[in-house]
C-alpha cells in the first residue's frame, strides 16, 4: 500500500494501481478539506447569500 511496505516494488502494477488509488483519495481529501474550511469561514462571516 505504501512504498515503505516491504512487499512494495516500483513496477508498473504498483505505480498504476496505487497511483490511481492515491489520485482518487487525494481528490476526495482535498475536496472535503476545501468544503469544510470554506464552510467554517462562511459560518464565521455570517455569509448567507446563497439559496438552494
Amino acid at each position: 500500500m505504501f512504498p515503505f511496505n516491504f512487499e512494495w516494488i516500483w513496477d508498473m502494477g504498483h505505480v498504476v494501481f496505487m497511483g490511481g488509488l492515491w489520485y482518487a483519495l487525494t481528490i476526495l481529501g482535498i475536496g472535503m478539506t476545501y468544503c469544510i474550511i470554506k464552510a467554517a469561514i462562511d459560518a464565521c462571516r455570517g455569509n448567507d447569500e446563497h439559496h438552494h
Binding site: 494501481f17 483519495l25 476526495l28 470554506k38 462562511d42 438552494h52
Partner: protein
Amino acid sequence: MDSALIPKGVKRCPFPQFILFIAIVGAVLLWGVYAMLLCWFKGLNQTNMNDFYGFALWIWADLAVIAVGGGAFFTGLLRYIFGKDELKNIINYAVLIGFICYSSALLILAIDIGQPLRGWFIFWHANVHSMLTEVAFCLSCYFGVLTIEYIPLILENRQINKVPFFHHLGHNMHEIMAVFAATGAFLSFFHQGSLGGVAGVLYGRPFAYREGLFIWPWTFFLFTWSAAACGPCFTILITKITETVTRKKLVKDNAIELLAKISGWMILTYSIAKTADTWHWATVTVPSLGQTLMDFYSNNPFYGIWILILEIAICGFIPAFILITQKGRKNSAALWIAVFLAVTGVCINRWVMVLQIMAIPVLTFENWVMYLPSWQEVATTILPVAYGVILVAFSYRYLPVFPNEPELNPIETLPPEKEKAVEPSVELEKELKPAEA
C-alpha cells in the same frame, strides 16, 4: 412529537406508528445481528460453506447489492457529468440506495472473511495483481464517495440546517458535487469491473474463465455494463415500492422515464454483448478446454440451460424491449415488470458467476456439489435488507429525499371543519393509515 425534525411542506405518519414500524424491522435486524455475532465468535463453521464452496451466498449477496447499487454511480454520472437535469429529483434516493448497498456489501465482507481482524491486510499487504484487491480498494473508496454524497442530504435536515457551519458545508459540498461524482464514476467503473474480473480470471475454472483485453477478462466490462444498466432499474424499483408503501407520488414521471429509457438501451446493448460473450465462450473457449456447453448445464439437480435462458432472454431482452419503447415506459404495469426482471436478471448473473462456478466439477472424477445456505447465512444476508429499510425510513421521515414531494402532494390548508365537510371519509383514512415509512 418529532414534528420539529420533519421537513416543511410534507406529511408524515404519527410518531408511534413510525416507531412500531421501526421496531418490527428492528426485530429482523436483531436476528441478523445475532447470526452475525455467531459467525464472528464461533467462526464460519456456522455456515453451510465447505471446501467446494469457498464462495457462497454472501459473495453472491455482495456482488448483487453492488450491481444493483450501481444505480448511484450511473445516475450521478448522468446527472452531474452528462447534465441530465431531470434526474435531480431522483438522485438523492439513488445515492441513499447506493449508500445502503455499499455499506451492506462491506458489512457482509467483514462477516465473510475467516479472520475479520486481519481484514486490513488486503490494503496493507495488497497484491496489486489480484482482482479482489482492486475490488476492496475501489469499493471502500467509493463507499467514501457515497458517504460524501449522502452527507449534504443529512445536513438539509431542518434542525441541522439551522447550524450555520452545517448549512454552509452542505452548500459547499453541493457546489463541487460533480468532482465527487466523477471520482465515484471512475472508482465504480473499476470495482464493478473487478468484481467481474474476480470470476473471469479463474483460468482453472472453464465455466468462469474468459479471454479479454489486456489484463481484463470480458467479464470485467460486462459487469460494469450490467451494473450501469440494471442499477437504475433497482433505483426505480425501490422508488416505486416506496411510493406504494407511502401511497404518495414522490418522483415526477419525467425523471423515472428518462432513467428507464437510458437503462433500457443499456440493458439492450448489454444483453447483446452478453450473448456474444456467451456464444464465443461456448463455441471457442470451452471446446478448447475439452468441454461442451451442456457439460455445465446437465447431470445435476438444479442448474439446467433454463438458467441461461432466464438470465439473458427473459431478464435481459424482455425488460430492454419494454424500457426502450415509450409505450412500455409509460405503462405502469409494464414498467414494474421490466425493472423487476432487469434486477432479477443481474442477480441471476451474479449467482451464476459465483455459485454455479463452485458447483461444477473440473476434475473428471469429481461430481457436482450442491449447497444450501444455513440459517445464519440467510439471517446475515437479510440483515442488510432490514438495515436498509430502517435507513430509508429515517431518511424519508427526516430528510428532504424527494424534492418533488411537497409539489406532488400539497398539504390541504383548508380549515378543519370545512375539510371534514368536503371529504370526511377519505381524510379519516389518510389520518389513520398514513405513510408507513
